[in-house]
Symmetry: none
Subunit: 410 residues, 2 copies
């Protein structure tokens, strides 16, 4: 069943706010089983609002509309909706009473604009707003049912939960099911090739890809006669997908690379120390974006050579003979991090993030990384391509992936 | 001059990602002087992409379109654009060469999907992508000029900056001029109050606010008979704005908090060391997102108490008497960072980022921070409200702001 979302407000079309309402509504509608095919943001313009609603009502069964229900002169949604439906505006006495009462309690003075919020297209179903002055409402527009909400996220969510979600659940088709996996280590095109033929093998299944740099997310979406059948189909296809992708699958569902690393270490009751140079604390920041104090002991960002020696005990001879960006230095940093912290695992990264500092032998993007573990040290190196941020991010993920695989033995 | 933005991808219509591209493009187009009236997000559906482009081309002079240029089967934008314009797809040999060369350099295997990215509607202007495989392109559709970009934000922004912004500036109406300032330390409502009356004092000037957590960006937009007059007006208003806001203005134009800190330290030929606990490396990551090796010597993320003592020399007595989250520990960490690194400035942060670990005396969100400098140590503390990420980000900005003010003496 097809749904559309409309967000009204010049603050959106002028790029002054990020439209998180649209994302939230799309996620809600998708979870309920609707097929959201169109999301439109338009400015506060009466003819454009009416024309957009009428156009969307031709191809969608459900339309959800936010914004433009406020008290000021640039809030035009309600009257535009009435124009679109060819209905008069009618003032609702019960809503007037709620507004007057609210202002009395807050000790605020009522202005004419406030009562505008009690006007609705004739016959609309009014949806009480427990956390603000503007109620929502719903009405028919051609064959579509349209729900209108204030643009304030908290008020939208409250009215949605109080009056709309359950209604929509009853009319939703509920015949799809989706599973997601995060992969790291292969580009999108290769991941796509690894899965070629899966859609043909499982009719009703669509494989989707999303690059969330540097990971590729794979989405297995199944459609069936009902949700149970869709789920069974998604599970069957997902097991083939999982088998084909093998160790490049880092995590499933909502789990992240960081979550997978933390889980692998926690299952082994292992502790971790970091020695970062070119990634400048990015790995530490990633790990500590979720609680990590039970396994992460310390992280050292050693930019200067003298600090690599002072904090990590990297021998001066290694630095002068092989350079700060070398396999030997990465190994010494990994050992040093274990020694300085007493951790059971360590990650060390040294490289040239750019934009300057490269040479023909050691170009910008060259990174050496090492994982120290109870059985020794694993090392890798690569020349990453891109700007400074991209090189740092690739290096951080590559090092975390080596840690994950080392800890899991895959 | 009227502009529209189209974002293509099921990940948007399904609510899986927040559409920051749309916000960024709306802001860019508005700053250039365009009137963005419509922003549409649609799923990966060939007929809908073509129909949307054709419909928008009827009422807009400029259309900007992102997403769907990838190598996989669900990337349908280019072929849909060709269908909309009634043009054949033509493979561009120069782009093929760039792609083949890129794959050779990366040591990756080319698959058929990759070459799809060298196909363009006949006559399109190809826009090289310096940071990814998918070039952008532009073409005429009726009377509208349409620009197509990959959906990856970094690639969009790079191609926009390399090939599109200057072109659009030439065709834009060009009677506006905007200046921007970043502020830190006061909420949006207070910043607004500090600037009340400025718009009345300078007719033609609009003051805009954008919360870019935890900073508030202030935009001074002036409209004049031509751009020179608009610029003069914006400059006059900006000097009043600057005076009223005082030290909460962190940076102007494209400069960031990190840039302001780096500049303040460089002007003093100062060096810096960090000792982070609850921010877990976020400050180090922020500073090293731009080249920092000329002033940043080291950063130590000392999560465990024993590590605070081992690496930073925080006396065990301070930790047992005052606790790890205390003014005394912050001071000891700031001193320890100076001592361990030989830097002239240090920043130390210790706190409770949550979600657990709080107590009635030391609630989640309590953070102590300190700046060590040649004349002594400055300290601050506050209970920040919000989730873990928000607390870490507020604490990092607050500490950097104290460093900036200490270094600048403001």
């Amino acid at each position: 069943m097809s749904a559309a979302v409309v967000c009204i407000g010049t603050e959106i079309t002028r790029g002054e706010i990020v439209n998180t309402n649209a994302t939230w509504l799309c996620d809600e509608l998708t979870s309920l089983g609707f097929d959201v095919t169109q999301v439109e943001s338009i400015d506060d313009d009466r003819p454009r609002i009416a024309a957009t609603l009428l156009r969307l009502a031709r191809d969608h069964e459900v339309i959800v509309c936010t914004g433009g229900l406020g008290p000021t002169t640039d809030d035009l949604t309600t009257e535009s909706a009435a124009v679109a439906a060819g209905l008069p505006l009618v003032r609702d006495p019960a809503t007037v009473e709620v507004i007057v009462d609210r202002f009395r309690r807050l000790g605020r003075t009522l202005v004419a604009g406030n009562l505008k919020q009690a006007d609705f297209p004739s016959g609309a179903v009014i949806l009480a707003n427990a956390v603000g002055t503007a109620p929502g409402f719903s009405m028919l527009l051609g064959a579509a049912r349209v729900w209108f909400f204030p643009g304030v996220p908290m008020e939208l969510k409250r009215i949605w939960g109080d009056h709309v979600r359950d209604t929509l659940r009853e009319i939703a088709p509920n015949t799809t099911f989706q599973l997601r996996m995060r992969t790291f280590g292969q580009p999108e095109s290769t991941v796509g090739q690894m899965l070629s033929g899966v859609e043909e093998q499982f009719p009703g299944v669509t494989i989707g890809y999303r690059a969330s740099f540097p990971e590729i997310e794979v989405k297995v979406l199944a459609r069936g006669a009902d949700q149970q059948k869709a789920r069974t189909l998604a599970d069957s296809a997902a097991s083939v997908v999982r088998h084909r992708l093998g160790a490049i699958v880092v995590a499933e569902g909502d789990q992240t690379m960081v979550g997978a690393v933390a889980q692998a270490l926690r299952e082994r009751k292992a502790t971790l120390a970091l020695a970062e140079s070119c990634t400048g604390g990015l790995v530490a920041h990633m790990l500590t974006s979720e609680p990590a104090s039970d396994y992460l002991l310390a992280a050292m960002v050693t930019y200067a050579n003298e600090i690599k020696t002072a904090l990590l005990g990297v021998p001066e001879g290694v630095l002068t003979e092989h350079g700060a960006v070398s396999r030997e230095t990465a190994i010494a940093m990994a050992h040093g991090a274990l020694r300085a912290s007493g951790a059971s695992f360590s990650v060390a990264i040294t490289g040239i993030a750019g934009p300057t500092g490269g040479s023909p032998e050691k170009p910008v993007g060259l990174v050496h990384w090492a994982v120290g573990h109870p059985g020794g040290v694993e090392t890798r190196d690569r020349v990453f391509v891109g700007d400074r941020g991209r090189i740092q991010r690739m290096a951080a993920f590559a090092a975390l992936d080596l840690l994950r695989r080392t800890a899991l033995g895959v």
